[in-house]
Every structure is written in C-alpha cells, then in structure tokens.
C-alpha cells in the first residue's frame, strides 16, 4: 500500500473497515462527523451494517446488541456524545463484550466548542460509566497512529473481550497528513463461543450484565480486575524520544505529545538534556516507565490539553522522587511549541522544587501568561 494524504476521521473509518468491522452505528457530532459520513458510504457498499442512530444513547445500545452476535463492531463520537453513551458503555463492560469506540475529543465542559481538547481523559481512562471496569485506551498522535491504533483496538478488544477506546482529539480527527492504510482483512472471522445468534443445535446462551447476587457480581468484578492486570502485564505501550541521558522528562499524549516532541527537539538544539515519554496506552498506563525515568531524571513536565487529568497518573509512580511540573491549555486551546519550549527552558534554568503542587503553580503562571 502507498502513502496517501489522509484525513484522520476518514482514515480511522477506513482502517476499521479494513480491520473487518461488520456493524457501525453513530450520530453526527463535530469534530468526528466525517468518520460517520465515510461509514455511511463504505459499509452499505460492502454489505455491512450502517445506521445513523437517533442519538448516541441509541447508537451505543445498537452497538451493544450487535456486539452480542460476536462480530467486530464500532461506534464513534465526540465528548458530549460520549458522555451520553456512558450507561451503555458500562453495560458493555459488564457483559464483557469486545467493542471499539472512538472519541474525537472537543472542548468542554457542556456544549463547549468544537476545537481539539483532551478533556475526556478522566471520563474515558478512569471510567465515567458506573461500576468498576477497565477499558483499554489508545492515544494516537498522528493520522498514521490513528489508523494503526484503530486496527490494534479491534485485536485487543477481541483478545481480552474488552472495551477498547481510541482516544483522539479534534486535531487528529480533522488534520490531513500522509499515511498508509492497512490491507483489507477478510470479514468471515471465527465466531466466538459466547455469541448469541440463535440456539440452533446447542444450549441457549444469555448475555447480560446483571448478577443479582452481590457475591456473583463480586466474582465478575474480580474477573474484570484480573483481566485488567493481564492487560497491564502484556499491553503497555509508549514511545520514548531522547530519554537516554535526559535530565528533564516531558510526558504528553496525543496532540499535546506531538507538540511537546517539537519543543523537546528545539530544546535539544539548545543543548538542554530533555526527552519525551509519550504514552500510547493511557490505560494500562505506563507507570513503570514513569517510575524508572523518575529514578534517573531531575524533573518532569507533564503537558496536556486539559487541567492535568493525566498528571495524577504521572504523580503516582513518581512518588515524590523528583519535582513534577505541569503545563496545560484548556477548553479547546492547543499549546504552541514555543509555550512548551519556554516551560522546558524555565525548568532547565530554574530547577523546580518539590514543595509546590504542580497544578497550583501552573494556574498561577497561566494567569500571568493570559494577562
């Protein structure tokens, strides 16, 4: 396959098609709509199920039903729509179904705006739906990764019977860059032995998220927890840049990670020993990699397009070994490379101390920056 100029949303849609998605249900919302539009053309022409649902509530429950038949299924939305899906997401997790969901995040809270944001980190990575469940969450920072992670999401979802998110932002969804699509996979995949498709010549099967005896629900919860442990053992993924001799470690994912990469390169050109850790799996989070880096570096800088939702996941493994600083832009604002570079320079020239809460320090600096 050749590299083509591709837009993120359409590329993720086509990647899902080539990964063998058999049913897609969704509802229009910017900055994700092109994905739905692509599916509206591609799925019917391949004889696969597509439906523009009456709402995200309906879409996620259609996905829930379709997933019960044991085929590859997917939906996509953006922040407010994903909020609306949360009950269904929890049901899917509780029924242990492999489902792929794409969230192309936008500025919030509320109706917010349609600009790129990372404000859904907590709602996706740490739940949002009720109960204890642990989705796999993949964070692309380019159109190529958006394609690759969409395909990977289907494989991981199937391998672990787990809900798997591709957590992108409006920037990844709507930008165009050269990327390569994967080959078309056959759709006639083996049907799993739990699928509900009519009890022909076998015992009936039931798929449900209800365990009316608390003791049974507890066993289910423990099974989900154990599975999450296995996923953490096997599937933690991240990218490392210039980390071998780094004294300052920048941590950022998705678009923020990409901007941070440019800033790190610029800082390196000035001779600052700085590197970047870019988590690919936000869940399971690369905590061990962070702890390892904290043991050797002098400071960390977490860069996000939110108020520091991932920051807490970084602070935990750092465990007070070194100072951690935070820089975030909010509400749909994407940080410029220069802003992150300024932060790196500040840390390099005025090494921070541990005493201060990184978020409070950042808020104080933000006020100066904005004034």
């Amino acid at each position: 396959m050749a590299r083509e100029l591709l837009e993120g949303n359409r590329a993720m849609a086509e990647a899902a098609v080539r990964a063998g998605v058999q049913a897609y249900f969704g509802y229009p919302i910017t900055p994700q709509t092109e994905l739905l539009e692509w599916m509206s053309k591609r799925m019917p022409e391949l004889g696969r199920a597509f439906l523009q649902a009456e709402s995200e509530v309906a879409a996620i429950n259609m996905i829930y039903g379709a997933a019960c038949t044991g085929v590859r299924v997917m939906s996509s939305s953006s922040s407010p729509g994903v909020s609306l899906m949360m009950e269904g997401i929890s049901y899917i997790a509780g029924t242990e179904l492999p489902v792929v969901l794409i969230d192309v995040m936008r500025g919030g809270p509320g109706l917010g705006n349609i600009a790129p944001s990372q404000g859904d980190y907590n709602q996706i990575v740490h739940g949002g739906g009720h109960g204890d469940y642990f989705p796999i969450v993949l964070a692309p920072s380019s159109v190529q990764e958006a394609i690759d992670f969409t395909v990977m999401a289907f494989d991981l979802a199937e391998k672990y019977r787990a809900l798997t998110f591709v957590l992108a932002d409006g920037n990844i969804g709507q930008m165009m860059e050269p990327a390569e699509l994967p080959p078309m996979q056959p759709v006639d995949r083996p049907i799993p032995d739990w699928a509900v498709r009519g009890a022909k010549g076998r015992e009936r099967r039931i798929l449900s998220s209800i365990y009316i005896r608390p003791e049974d629900e507890e066993v289910t919860n423990l099974r989900l927890l154990e599975r999450a442990g296995k996923i953490k053992e096997n599937e933690v993924r991240y990218k490392e840049y210039f980390l071998d001799d780094a004294e300052i470690v920048v941590v950022g994912f998705g678009t923020a990670g990409r901007v941070a990469f440019s800033a790190v390169r610029a800082a390196r050109a000035q001779g600052i020993r700085v590197g970047l850790l870019r988590p690919i799996t936000l869940s399971p989070f690369p905590s061990e990699a962070v702890a390892e880096l904290a043991a050797h570096a002098q400071a960390m800088l977490v860069v996000e397009m939110n108020s520091g939702q991932m920051l807490d996941d970084v602070l935990r493994p750092v465990a007070g070994q070194i100072p951690v600083e935070f820089y975030g832009r909010l509400g749909g604002v994407v940080p410029f490379q220069d802003e992150v570079l300024t932060e790196i320079e500040r840390i390099a020239h005025h090494p921070p101390t541990i005493e201060f809460d990184p978020r409070e320090k950042w808020i104080r600096r933000m006020k100066e920056i904005l004034n």
């Binding site: 058999q22 049913a23 249900f25 199920a49 439906l51 649902a53 009456e54 709402s55 509530v57 309906a58 879409a59 429950n61 259609m62 996905i63 829930y64 039903g65 379709a66 997933a67 019960c68 038949t69 085929v71 299924v73 009950e87 269904g88 049901y91 509900v196 498709r197 009519g198 009890a199 022909k200 010549g201 009936r204 099967r205 039931i206 798929l207 449900s208 998220s209 209800i210």
Partner: protein, 257 residues
C-alpha cells in the same frame, strides 16, 4: 371398555424452560411469556430467535425463555434489537418491554425503531405502573390512579395524561402491525395469542415493525387481589386503552392463524 391411549393435551412449550416463575401471584407476565413461547413453537422459530429482555419485572425473562437472549439497558431494548437484527437479518428478534421501559425512558428508541420499519417484534406489557421499583406512576397510569409517586391519584393537571402507544406507533409508516389486546380472561388471552402470532408473521414476512400491547395486571402494586386485578383491567383500563387493531399491513389480509 375400549382402550383409550393417553394423550397429552397440555404441556410446557419447548420454548419455555422449566425454571419456576419468579413473578408475583396473579401477575400476567407469565401468561404473556407462555403465549410468546407457544407462538415460537408453532412457527418453529425457537432455534432461530434472539430475545431482548428489558429492565423491569421481566428483566429475568431470559430465565424463562428457552432461546438465546440478551438483557438491555432500561428502555433501550429496541436499539439493542436493532443492532442484532442488522447484523443477523435472517434471525427472528423480539423485544419484551414494560410501560415504563417502552413509553417513558425508551420513548425515542421505540419511535425510531418503528419509524425505520425495523423488522422486529415488540411485546409491550402495559400494567399501568412501575412494577419492579415498587409501584410508582407510569406514563400509562390512569387518571386518578393511586401509585406510590402519585399518592392522591394521578392528577392530569400536574402529571399529564396516559400515553396511548400503539395508537401513536400505528401512525408511523414503518409499522406493519400495531394492536392492543388484553390478558384479563380466556377469550382475550386467545385473541392475544393470535395477535402475537401475527406479529411474528410480520417479521418472518419482512413487513416491518410489529408491536402487540397487552393490558396486564399488577396485583402487588395495585393493592388488589388477582381476581380484582383482572376486573380492574376490564373495567378501568380498557376504557382508557381500547382494544383493537390500529394498523395491520395489507399483506396480512386474509391470513388465518
């Protein structure tokens, strides 16, 4: 005396399991289950059918039906059924819903499933109350009817009027079959069975969305005996929810079941 061989005249349909019922004494959910099971048996659909249970007293319907089953979120059974049917169009998919499930929280999903002409069968149990949560007002609660959340009786000035769902669904182009029956006496139970048969015929013939509303009893939450409850259906519910055929696809004309 002549030797008359023993003949089975009544038995459990194959489409029902032997699980003892968990419904309250006098509740008509059990009758509705049996009728659906008989129809599945007669049409030889059991092995080709997927049921969708609601949230409500019939949340455990899958314990009683001997076919593949899934359990939906409150109100979303038509969406879940849609997802299944769109992937497996040659399977028979039915949703079984209460009035809170279908006419309140799930209003959007039922309307749109019908609007799309989704080729599924919906069994709608109207007992004019929220059974499972202990007897609160439903969208189908009668004017003046006392419930735990309308303690002085449903005041239509404050809480509005009961919703007539099959009448509304009959106006939708995608609907192939929309009728109301009652489970309050043997004659009506027989008529209900015929309607259920028709509703599954609609699906196997690809004639669109089919719904059968069944007026049902809830002695526990109505605070009536089972016998009084049947009377309540006949005397109080039927005047508000008239029995009848509100839409029957022309292709069904002359079909005898």
């Amino acid at each position: 005396m002549m030797d008359v061989p023993a003949q089975v005249v009544y038995s459990r349909p194959e489409s029902l399991t032997s699980t003892p019922t968990t419904y309250c004494p006098g509740c008509t959910h059990g009758i509705a289950h049996r009728l659906v099971a008989e129809v599945l048996d007669e049409m030889e659909l059991r092995e080709n059918t997927i049921g969708v249970a609601p949230v409500g007293c019939s949340v455990f319907a899958y314990n009683f039906f001997n076919c593949d089953f899934v359990e939906a979120a409150h109100g979303r059974a038509p969406a879940m059924a849609t997802g299944i049917k769109r992937v497996l169009p040659d399977r028979v998919v039915f949703a079984y819903q209460g009035d809170g499930d279908l006419a309140s929280i799930g209003m959007a999903e039922i309307m749109h499933a019908s609007g799309r002409g989704e080729n599924i069968t919906v069994i709608f149990i109207n007992n004019a109350i929220y059974g499972m949560t202990g007897g609160q007002m439903a969208p189908t609660t009668l004017p003046g009817q006392k419930t735990t959340s309308s303690p002085d009786g449903r005041d239509v000035e404050q809480a509005g009027y009961p919703l007539r769902m099959v009448e509304a669904l009959a106006t939708m182009q995608g609907t192939g079959y929309a009728v109301r029956r009652s489970l309050h006496d043997p004659k009506n139970i027989r008529l209900a069975k015929k309607a259920l048969r028709m509703a599954f015929e609609v699906q196997t013939r690809g004639l669109g969305f089919a719904i059968v509303e069944l007026l049902s009893s809830c002695p526990t939450n109505w605070g009536l005996t089972p016998k009084e409850s049947l009377k309540f259906i006949e005397e109080r519910m039927i005047p508000v929810f008239p029995l009848g055929d509100f839409k029957v696809h022309p292709a069904l004309e002359g079909l005898r079941v």
